[in-house]
Symmetry: C2
């Protein structure tokens, strides 16, 4: 932690995690060996075990981080008060911001398959998030703001399927038309792609 100019940069669990998550996303968690991590970090396998207890702990730290940020969205004032449709819009836009800001961690979270206890816990929390959003959609339908032929659970899945697909193609480096992912998703989901016949 001391900063004596040009000495070796020591690993913290945080920095180690960042490297590990990149490799996990490249090769898949199961497809990544501790040797792969050693190569990517520049330290040996045994040194990694100085910082973390196990390979699975790295996974747990990563998905916890992603889940914490995502659930924090639901606690924001704009997600808790006001008209359901506006709360929904806020959740979509804020989730998109989390996805972009924490891209590697969210990516890993969305690829979890349920092999270990950690992964099953992650899946359960994701389902919980979906349930909350589906409730929001249902209220927006009841309010008359969403088409009443919309099935809330289906709409939620398509909406977040669209948003979450970004982990497969979003490139933070490129400052292209996808500057605001949340805006693009919300626009498509609420108004559709089709050209409006007349004004507005």
């Amino acid at each position: 932690m001391s900063v004596p100019g040009a000495t070796r940069i020591a690993y913290t669990p945080e920095r180690l995690l960042a490297v590990a998550v990149e490799v996990f996303n490249l090769r898949g968690y199961d497809g990544t060996s501790m040797e792969d991590l050693a190569r990517a970090t520049g330290i040996t396998k045994s040194s990694i075990y100085h910082h973390v207890r196990s390979k699975e702990e790295l996974l747990r730290l990563a998905v916890s981080r992603a889940l914490d940020r995502i659930f924090a969205v639901l606690d924001q004032p704009a997600a808790r008060t006001g008209r359901a449709i506006d709360r929904l819009e806020h959740v979509v836009r804020a989730s998109a911001r989390v996805l972009v800001d924490e891209l590697p961690y969210v990516t890993l979270l969305l690829r979890v398959r349920g092999n270990t206890a950690t992964e099953q816990w992650a899946l359960e929390r994701r389902r919980e998030f979906d349930r909350v959003v589906a409730t929001l959609v249902a209220r927006a339908v009841a309010d008359g703001d969403l088409d009443d032929t919309v099935e809330p659970r289906l709409a939620t899945r398509l909406l977040f399927g669209m948003l979450n697909s970004a982990v497969e193609w979003y490139e933070p480096a490129r400052a292209d038309a996808t500057a605001d992912l949340g805006a693009a998703v919300w626009r498509l989901a609420s108004a559709g792609l089709r050209r409006r016949p007349a004004g507005s």
Copy 2:
């Protein structure tokens, strides 16, 4: 395992593949051992090698099947002639049908990460499909059928992100509101979820 009265049902590569793909989707390809497959098939590891050359061959057979069906969509007449917007609608609906009909194979295809040569080839073919669809979207914009603020590549990714997310939640057994996945996806993508102010 054999019951005295009944004749033994022998495995074909096809039947073996069906079982293997189910397990791959449950545990992930890298997370599945040949022992896992042996347990799931009821024959031994060595017997599996009587039918297929390697574990990777099972993956190749599976993703080939999915890719063949998906690319067949682009060759259908309705995808090759007519107004771009109608061709696009057909591609979405027909892709949805393929996704549902070949759910396990498409699921596996969409989870491929590029670890082996087989996987990289699968990724490249998927990109090719996306390119064709993006061209279709661009033409529909040029025709004035899609909003001209729509960025073709982004729209394509969101559209198919939405559709492809179905592999994570679609249950063929349940005959619920998602009877026609393609219709639901196309409806959301073209018109959006929002309630229209007045008639139509």
